[in-house]
């Protein structure tokens, strides 16, 4: 199916999203969210909250439900460990976790190249974007980077 929109415009939601810094790679899809996409799933919405509408893998501590702890545990279960920055390293896969100033998580993105990241925007599009493109608005800022060896 052809993707109807090719680039997103800057908005109040994404004040740093220059058109040249992003590329839409899918049509909107309500089946999965950013966390699912970051861990490679497109069949469920994943979130650590206690809302029964979201999947959470059994055996993973979800923390308090809407803080970083649950997401750190989830990514750790996929082999990620915390790292210091977004520098691209061949053979290494990184994720960025975004939070509001309060520390509440809002989003996660997966690195796909040098200053290239892949995100699922809620129930909306999958996009590729530069490191800062989706921060500064509703997602807050990147709070944590994690990395693992890129799976073969």
């Amino acid at each position: 199916m052809a993707v109807r929109t090719t680039r997103l415009k800057k908005s109040n939601h994404f004040p740093r999203l220059a058109k040249k810094s992003n590329k839409v790679t899918s049509n909107p899809d309500k089946s999965y969210n950013c966390i699912a996409y970051a861990v490679g799933r497109t069949d469920k919405k994943i979130w650590p909250s206690h809302h029964p509408d979201h999947y959470w893998p059994p055996g993973i501590d979800r923390g308090n439900g809407d803080d970083l702890a649950g997401l750190l545990n989830l990514f750790a279960s996929h082999g990620y460990v915390r790292c210091v920055d977004a520098a691209y390293v061949e053979g290494v896969e990184k994720v960025a976790i975004y939070t509001l100033a309060s520390g509440r998580p809002t989003h996660a993105a997966r690195q796909i190249g040098a200053n290239r990241w892949a995100s699922k925007l809620g129930e909306w599009y999958d996009i590729e974007h530069s490191e800062k493109a989706v921060s500064g608005g509703d997602y807050g800022e990147i709070a944590i980077f994690m990395q693992r060896q890129r799976p073969a």
Partner: protein, 145 residues
Amino acid sequence: MSFIDHSDSPVSSRFHTGIARLESGGSQRATKIFVDPQNDILMGMPFAVDQTVSEFKKHKRKWLKDTRHLSSPIDRYMHPSYVRIIGLGAPVLKIILRDLKAEQNDWFYALRYIAGTDPVKPSMAGDIDQMTKAWIKWGEDHGFI
């Protein structure tokens, strides 16, 4: 303002009922009135006609526009328009269920609160197709669809 005569259903031999409909600012309000054909309108009783539908559509549109890019359940379900739709209460259940069936919008939180039940099993969590089917079946079983 328009007036629809419902004179086939008089509330008494003296009064006829009717509906006065006023549209203003995108909302619609109707008032049931009792008319004495010999005199003026005697009494009006305000009630909503299609107001639940119009409120739902208005707030659904705003909610989708404002939250389609968000994943956090707090941000999505605590949006003022989503809360407003929950506040419409039982009259909006049928509307939500039809919307869920047609568009699979994320009404699961609202449905739980309004209906006071949850037909979604824990094993269905996060699977929008299964969750939708569970609620549609519940709606059918309870005569909403």
